[in-house]
Symmetry: C2
Subunit: 653 residues, 2 copies
């Protein structure tokens, strides 16, 4: 969106400004609250306002009684956005190719700064800047607690229905065309995705793509393995060794790739702003020991009590329940097998797969229910920071999901030691969960949204004919307000995590797993992209520098994969043949090699730098320059320009 566009759209839509964010208040909010809120948004900064534009959205073409009149569009002047970009510490590419913190003072030294919005600050950046200025998270900077209290009060009383950024039809069309509408082999437009949705989203899609490519060699090895050694389980040793190296190497390389992306997008060297309490945090009003401001205080000891005395036992109970369900599954499995053995027909052959399918469905349902419970518990633990909340939630969900999905496989592999059943079980679990996921994640929301969309278009068409089937702004806003809210990348990463687990842990006994996951990932790219563009409200952008706690989760999984693959190798008949007389010797050797590999893995993590060298040099240069600048500053007043005698610089050694 260029500056021209910026103005045109504003004029065209009947507003004095380009609306960027929608604020919806409940319909029963008092008139004076609205007036006060609007004045907060519009007032100049020195009066404690946010100095933004705000206007009420007019009624839609066919205004109904149930339609909420309290929908407001918020925008900002070009200057205000630039100052916002400076305040949140955005990094942009400088003239010399390095990334520097954006300042209005030397804005013209930034690359491609031509007065055009599109080239200066990406859309997502604009939104970050605006977000920073949003009245509910900005005004009354000084009186911190009041702000937090206000937001909580608005939310808890249901007065603030929602806040979300508007989609931009033109941009979105372009993006979706290059992203998923072309049927051709090409990489995803990561830069454009970042431009429209922000770094957090773009990193997820980057990781998804990277993971898919990383799986290709495994899939290529897997197919001949599957075709020619289908029943020859002895030969899986080579594949297990491959897995073991693969899962370590790809995660190390991803760290470097992710650092390159984050550097290019300016989030790598960006300083984190001071983290404020999450809106849901509550407690007795007290003083924050760090900021000295008044804010709710909640004792850490109390939180620890809740975590260790309630959450932890609850998680353990759930794990026990999951084990119990697993045992039922094995009983069903045994029953199906006995039926099949008694009188094997085509139908009993199918019956053999039924327990696994049921178990897979039950696992998905349990995961879903547990997810809600985990969210409730983590909310109840009352974490002060959003990051701490996220970490605790991820940890809870991860442990349970891991256990739920893999416990049966571990049991089959290491207790029952039945490789045929392991292969069958793995295949059923993988395929069923993929089908379920695709349905729940993409098809269902798409279908719902399509219905809603058609209804709205039909409604508008009643009044007047539409050109290009495009909705007027007012209808567009109403439509988007009705869209589902995108809940972040959590579920997407979780799905990838479990797929990574299936592939790295047990794919040596079922070499097709990698192929299946590659196929799944390709459809996942399309369905996720479609979902982002068409089904959900546009999310606020999140200036992430890496995939955060998920990197840790994947690394933990890769450690487990090393142990598991070593154990599988040790159990293989091929290896057992080398130790015909003594099982003890075999186990000791397996354990010794496994320890060596784990040690090697940790050394490798130290040896491979997390940031590629050329980026490290650029970062050091920036740091060096700021150090030099600091050094020179206080001396500037006193120091005369250096005039050296030629003899002065010469050392007569």
């Amino acid at each position: 969106m260029g500056l021209q566009n910026f103005r045109t759209l504003a004029t065209f839509s009947g507003f004095r400004f380009t609306p960027l964010v929608v604020v919806e208040l409940a319909s029963n909010v008092k008139e004076e609250t609205i007036t006060w809120l609007l004045s907060r948004i519009r007032d100049q900064q020195q009066n404690g306002g946010a100095e933004l534009f705000a206007e009420q959205l007019g009624p839609s073409v066919e205004a109904q009684e149930k339609e909420n009149p309290n929908v407001f569009l918020v925008g900002a002047s070009w200057q205000r956005l630039l100052s916002g970009a400076e305040d949140v510490g955005l990094f942009k590419e400088y003239n010399d190719g390095s990334m520097r913190g954006f300042t209005r003072a030397n804005k013209h030294n930034f690359k491609d700064f031509k007065g055009k919005v599109r080239h200066d600050l990406s859309d997502a950046n604009l939104r970050t800047a605006l977000q920073h200025f949003m009245p509910l998270s900005y005004f009354q900077q000084e009186k911190y607690s009041e702000r937090a209290v206000l937001l909580r009060r608005l939310l808890s009383k249901g007065l603030l229905v929602q806040i979300f950024p508007l989609h931009e039809k033109e941009e979105l069309k372009r993006l979706s065309f290059s992203w998923y509408k072309k049927v051709k082999l090409s990489l995803q437009p990561l830069d454009d995705i970042r431009h429209y949705y922000g770094e957090g989203q773009a990193l997820y899609f980057g990781f998804l793509e990277y993971f898919t490519f990383a799986l290709v060699p495994m899939a290529l090895i897997g197919v001949p393995y599957y075709l020619f050694d289908w029943e020859d389980y002895d030969k899986y040793v080579v594949f297990a060794v491959f897995n073991l190296i693969w899962c370590t190497v790809i995660l190390e390389l991803w760290k470097r790739f992710s650092a390159s992306l984050a550097y290019r997008w300016g989030t790598l060297s960006r300083k984190k702003a001071f983290e404020e309490p999450r809106p849901g945090f509550h407690g007795v009003l007290g003083f924050n020991p760090v900021t000295g401001r008044e804010e709710p205080v909640y004792p850490t000891a109390k939180r620890h009590l809740r975590i260790y005395l309630v959450s932890l036992p609850f998680v353990l109970l759930c794990l026990y329940l999951s084990l119990y369900v697993m045992m039922i599954y094995f009983q069903m499995e045994g029953w199906a097998l006995s039926v099949h053995d008694e009188d094997p027909t085509f139908w009993t052959g199918i019956l053999l797969f039924i327990p696994s399918i049921i178990y897979a469905v039950v696992i998905e349902i349990m995961n879903l229910i547990y997810r809600y419970a985990a969210e409730f518990l983590t909310e109840w633990e009352n974490h002060r920071l959003e990051s701490s909340y996220q970490n605790h939630l991820v940890l809870k969900v991860l442990v349970f999901n891991f256990f739920n999905c893999f416990a049966s496989l571990f049991y089959i592999a290491f207790v029952m030691q039945d490789m045929v059943l392991l292969r069958q079980s793995l295949a059923t679990l993988l395929i069923t969960s993929q089908i379920l996921n695709q349905f729940m994640e993409a098809f269902l929301p798409y279908w719902l949204q399509r219905r809603r969309n058609k209804k709205m278009i039909r409604k508008v068409q009643k009044k007047r004919t539409l050109e290009d089937k495009e909705l007027p702004l007012v209808e567009q806003v109403r439509l988007e307000a009705d869209m589902s809210t995108y809940l972040g990348t959590f579920d997407d990463y979780l799905e990838l995590f479990l797929l990574f687990g299936y592939v790295s842990l047990f794919s040596c006994v079922y070499p097709l797993a990698a192929v299946l996951v590659v196929l799944n990932n390709i459809t996942e790219v399309y369905s996720d992209a479609f979902k982002m563009c068409q089904v959900f409200k546009r999310p606020f952008s999140d200036p992430a520098a890496n995939i955060g706690v998920w990197q840790l989760a994947f690394e933990a999984m890769s450690v487990i994969a090393v142990v598991t693959n070593c154990a599988l190798i040790g159990m293989s008949p091929q290896v057992k043949a080398y130790f015909p007389e003594s099982e003890t010797q075999l186990i000791l050797w397996t354990v010794a090699i496994e320890h060596g590999l784990l040690a090697f893995k940790f050394i490798l993590t130290f040896l491979i730098p997390d940031i590629p060298k050329h980026i490290q040099i650029k970062l050091s240069r920036l740091e060096f320059e700021s150090l030099e600048a600091l050094k020179k500053k206080p001396k500037k007043k006193k120091m005369q320009p250096l005039k050296r005698e030629p003899s002065d610089g010469y050392c007569p050694v």
Copy 2:
């Protein structure tokens, strides 16, 4: 040393300033080089000098012909030192109790700033500041390469003999009295040590003390174990479990303790200055990609070739040699045993210990020789940074020392499974190496220094009678110039590392080990303290924030300790009794529990914060304030003082 003292001493010693650092040039340096160098030191900063004081040391009382006349004393004005303290980014305690970067502008807001040197900046800090200004590492800041070239040329041609800070007799006397001259139970005066020697030294002594205290519970448990269960090796399981927990917990707690110390001393939050190439670094002149300055450039690929094609094979060869020596030891052991078994007398009883003693001595000698080889190789690898040099040296030395000292014990424990021999071997190794160390480290240098000292005093006494046996400044400088150079904490840490290994790995079979190490540590404190004060030249201070790479080394050892103790437990007859029929079951259980413990250890490392909470809060507050200050700066010009209407701040929700 107060400001009064500062002046008095200067007047008293016949200098216009208090001498702080001694620079000794070779006696054959040309007159014009000296003149040039002195002008570099004395010139004002705008002329490219260092703006320090420098004066030649006069001849000593009984001047001999061989005495070097080119000894210079360097000092600085009070203002110059303060500006140096600011430039190197010293942290001091502020009025409000927090630690802040020292600036001359608000020097009076720092705690206890009363115009007295002693209270403002510790001696070690003074020296850091001066070090920063030393001509050889400071002047011609702009022409970087020239400076590096100069220093190298001076050093390589042997023109610069040495640079070292002077001891301060009064301070030293006070320190040594409170440190090691009192015979009473008390903690070391860590703050005073840091004051005199700097943070690096003080952290070493802090760690030594901490380690000793951490060993006390183990020693207390060890004594009754030793007395009542001397031959009952079945009972070592409890002790092994204790070891296993102990070695994890004490390292985690040390991190927190070390952070507290570093915070109090102002090094925790201090920003590292840009690291410059080490003096020994050489290469083709090129441009540093970070600073853009001219400096020697050496390709990383070449260095990697040297590391992987020469250093690594060399280390492996040495390890093989060490194994070979070990095998010879076992042959000797076997021979001694056979002699004793044939005809057991008192003398053959003693003969049994001889191989172990010889082996212990050989190990020490091999370590010593290897140390020189490692230093040579690491120097040859031509690392650009001192830190990288240190890391590679530590890694090389650690691996070999670990192997050399513990290989035989591992062999006895896990291959021979002979617990009686293990105990005997451990005791001999430990006691012999302790005796050797104390002799080499403390007694020998002490005796040498004492002889030198007496000679000097006798020499002076010939000329005139001394009051209080105190030497005049000139003689003091000459005497200190002859003292040995302290080579850093490397050897001291290495010794602690090996002791930690003996205790954490195998002390369960020889419970007296902890007692021996405690006794050794107590004498170590005294001998190290004595060594620092009386035997060595005063070292330049090193503003360390932690024990650096050694923390990593100790943690690696604690991981090995967990594995070893698990294996020892698994091998114990007590545990074996639980699995009478199947050895496989026993091993699998041991391995499973070991994996669980390792996982728990890593989780624990995540759970326990490295920095205690109250310090974390102070650090965050500082960060928050600087963020706030940054936010306000650019707006200051435009913003009017905030005048809010009362109704403005009120939310009529």
